[in-house]
Symmetry: C2
Subunit: 637 residues, 2 copies
Amino acid sequence: MLKSHPCGGLTGKEIGNQVVLCGWVQRKRDHGGVTFIDLRDRSGIVQVVFDPRECGQEVATLAREVGSEWVLKVSGVVHRRPPGTENPRLATGEIEVRAQEATVLNPASPLPFPVRDDVKGVDEILRLKYRYLDLRRPAMRQALELRHRFTKAVRDFMDQQGFWEVETPILWKHTPEGAREFLVPSRLHPGRFFVLPQSPQIAKQLLMVAGVEKYFQIARCLRDEDPRADRQPEFTQIDVEMSFVTADDIYELVEGLLSYALKVAAGRDIPTPFLKMSYQEAMTRYGSDKPDIRFGLLVEDVTDILKESSFRAFSDTVREGGIIRGLFVPGLETLGRKDLAELTELTKRAGAKGLATIPIGDRQQESLVARFLTEKEKEALASRFGSERPGWILLVADQADRVEEAVGLLRLKLARHRKLVPERCSQELAFLWIVDRPLLEWDAREERYVPLHHPFTSPFPEDIPLLEEGVRMLETGRGEKKGSPDHPLRRVRAYAYDIVLNGYEIGGGSIRIHDRSLQELVFRAIELPREEAKRKFGFLLEAFEYGAPPHGGIALGLDRILAVLCDAEQTDPDSGLPYLNIREVIAFPKTSTMADPLTGAPTPVDEKVLKEQHITLVPEVWAKVQQEAGGIGESNE
Amino acid sequence: MLKSHPCGGLTGKEIGNQVVLCGWVQRKRDHGGVTFIDLRDRSGIVQVVFDPRECGQEVATLAREVGSEWVLKVSGVVHRRPPGTENPRLATGEIEVRAQEATVLNPASPLPFPVRDDVKGVDEILRLKYRYLDLRRPAMRQALELRHRFTKAVRDFMDQQGFWEVETPILWKHTPEGAREFLVPSRLHPGRFFVLPQSPQIAKQLLMVAGVEKYFQIARCLRDEDPRADRQPEFTQIDVEMSFVTADDIYELVEGLLSYALKVAAGRDIPTPFLKMSYQEAMTRYGSDKPDIRFGLLVEDVTDILKESSFRAFSDTVREGGIIRGLFVPGLETLGRKDLAELTELTKRAGAKGLATIPIGDRQQESLVARFLTEKEKEALASRFGSERPGWILLVADQADRVEEAVGLLRLKLARHRKLVPERCSQELAFLWIVDRPLLEWDAREERYVPLHHPFTSPFPEDIPLLEEGVRMLETGRGEKKGSPDHPLRRVRAYAYDIVLNGYEIGGGSIRIHDRSLQELVFRAIELPREEAKRKFGFLLEAFEYGAPPHGGIALGLDRILAVLCDAEQTDPDSGLPYLNIREVIAFPKTSTMADPLTGAPTPVDEKVLKEQHITLVPEVWAKVQQEAGGIGESNE
């Protein structure tokens, strides 16, 4: 090695020792002919002193001439800093290295932005273009290190639990289901395509059929997503599958895994077991399938109280099959006119008609709605929200799905507004299992039931009779009408579980179907013709015929977990709602519009190269690319 | 868990205990109303006894009716086997489980091939189509487990050495250099493409610029290869890069890594440091840049002896600038007429004109060549090969590159023929570093020097003056003629290293250029115009301007290392030469023609889906696909 010690690792123990350091110039100061350089490497920073009386004029001159981020090699001796010049904020603040020799290993051009955490507001596109500079900042370096330590801990734990990590293919089979897939043309099989895997779901189920029993993989998943601030075209999941298990085994495993990895990688103690909440309760009381339980602000249903209200927006909605739900915010002064307007805006964003804001205790005259309510109704409302203090009741009346979404968003926004959650999202870690969600949902467009995730999730064993009854109704046309909210097929619960951290879904999984007749029943429930099932999933169905064991698993979103730990929560400027910027925990991410400012990818490709893959651009795009290429060529010359 | 114990983990200690097992029926035998089932899970096999007097008639009937690979759950008690019925070949051979209850978790259809290692000759395509059955065989299960243990050990070691594992992108930038890349159309950027990474080479160099200092990754690499038995479109490499290092640091790291991982994962002790051999010596004495040093059979150059031979094939070749080299095979009886014919065939396969076979000690008359040689020449030959015993001298006369390749192949084939290497290639592990290979090679087609790997490899520091001299000659037209074997540019050595195991290249790397002026010198040597360099590698060159540290690294081929350890060496039926079938160590590989018989990938894709990605098939392929789709539809109905 060109260096003998890491810069940030030097302590008082090294005093008197000769050291050779290599690193980057973080900061330089001159004091009466003596140059002080803060030299940085991965481990941290140390102060190097260039005193011409010790290092000679030549080296002293060199030190005076170096610039920010130049790479230096320095030989010198570790000294205790003169009394009064120690820097307690620096791990090496007790000592300094008095240089004897120095070499410039590489100079640096002036930087597009400074390599410092305390300089805010650098444009993210610029940060991504010069990602190699951005990654030199302590915060980003720490994110990379945490990512390494966390995945290492995951692997240690899984290995210790008897899991084998198995690599599954990147070149996979196109299945026209689920998320949009990236295509990869096959040169050797003209006109045919591989796709990049959305997840190793089917591959890991095949590994269970293969008898691997305990599989995991820290797996790259690729989805051709639409632009969204919290999405990336490639992300990483901790992918797990086990044979001969129940959901309880998965809970225990994941709780053990996360508490181990958080302890080892981040020094965090988290209590286990995690809370469990039914999907029903989450939707009803939190307006979300991924509730943030770090704060209360529970949703109450007041449909019964207001169904006959003289405020027509309420009574009409209920008559049309809608519901009324809302939240109570204590303190009339906490929400001003502007806040209420923003909350109303948010409600509309969720597709709901509007927000009824009812003051309790005072300022009744400010509310249009309040004037329409009877005293009895107002008392019943106050009692339902269990509050005798003044405050605001915020109500949304609409069809159930819109109400749920709207009150869920209101809850999130109010929590930020009222500072009910710590500013740093890593400060409190609230894990939660969501269980008992429905197996199927009604797709009004397709006029059929569709699986919430994929058709291989098992129903709850107790709910199989309900599934059978539903399929009977579907196929005979008798009983509940197809699509009705009370149809048995909407009441069948999935033997599935999602895991939530601070209001973000960080994973999900299920016990899978391994029984052919049950699988066929589910296919009938989703009205998937036999031939189509065969074409789409034939190879998996065939595998089930050769001794498939009962199995189940889960996938945890590594990027999201790390984003929470690294406080990569951001606020959407439009909605004021929080989201995770997972780019902060990925070494080389794409922008939210799925491009890479660093490499310039994606790029145009020569026609010759396309032709080799037997493809060509569609004519209108081809014309546009030709035009652009011409334009670019000109502007470069 | 549905089971209390692993089948293969039961020992005498469990005698008397109640156990619940889950597994697959490996074998079933009936003896006078009692059924014996060998139940298998990932851990191994245990014998389960179904005696109707203990388990009742119903369970006994069930046991009689199950078939191969059915999945069972069995409750019972562990008993010592009756004396004389122990099976010492089975880890659980001392005990048996006497069943009380049993459930069929899943039946199995009759298998396409038996799940047994001792059934040979199953067609590989069939094995790949039913990979989930093939993977149930002990040999394949062991390969998966070894792969897990080996990569786990690699990660443990690298972590312990201070390396961070960093994930680099799968969606990368097209660079029209090196291997052919897989293309991925970008839906959001019409007419533009990502590519799948051939390796994380540039990304890891950027991580060095980012100050990561010690990076590794067990990284998936994707190359659009032509069909070859020993290649896969996706493979895995142990990818390493370090800052502030010399080649010696890389040697030490890799030797430490491999000896640790081999010890921990496979119980193998390998001596370090590994031997080092110059590229020159490898080519001259072994006829290969990846010599198998488990055996001798060294190549001798006899150009000087035969340059004026009256055998014109020799003298003419030398006059035309060619060389004559060969091997000595002791024992005239070791090579019969058929063997000599095969060896001649192999020589021609390497592009050489033919093989001169000269008997020493006897049977002179059988050799046409021998009759043309003088006694003096024959004596000189025998003396050059250091043999006084009878045997065959095998000589190839041609241009140097063809001679080297031909004698290299002869050496490999003779080693198998004469059983100089163990049949199981894992038995002896001979590691070797190949160093000092040339930085550039002459590309006669392009009429310019080209880098052997990529243009970022540093020349040997001592050879930089030679590089400068060469570029001067190139640019002034003075001195050595461009392309001549003595041109200084062919004598510049790369600061690079390859690592070889048992004659297979299992990795390679280099110290990279980090100095802009040296990089520009190399670009001038390969006559790469400035503009083109910018277009191809601009983002990396720009990164070098912001304080790039000296750095270097290596990539090790995980699949090949594991293939050697798993004895996945096969013999090419045409050439009789050995190769590694890395499919044996990959869970779900592609065939040598890059297809997946299991999933059917690659598959046709709806035009709608292609259009969404702004591409379409070239007309002739489109027509063919339409035709086939019609054909397939008909044959299925």
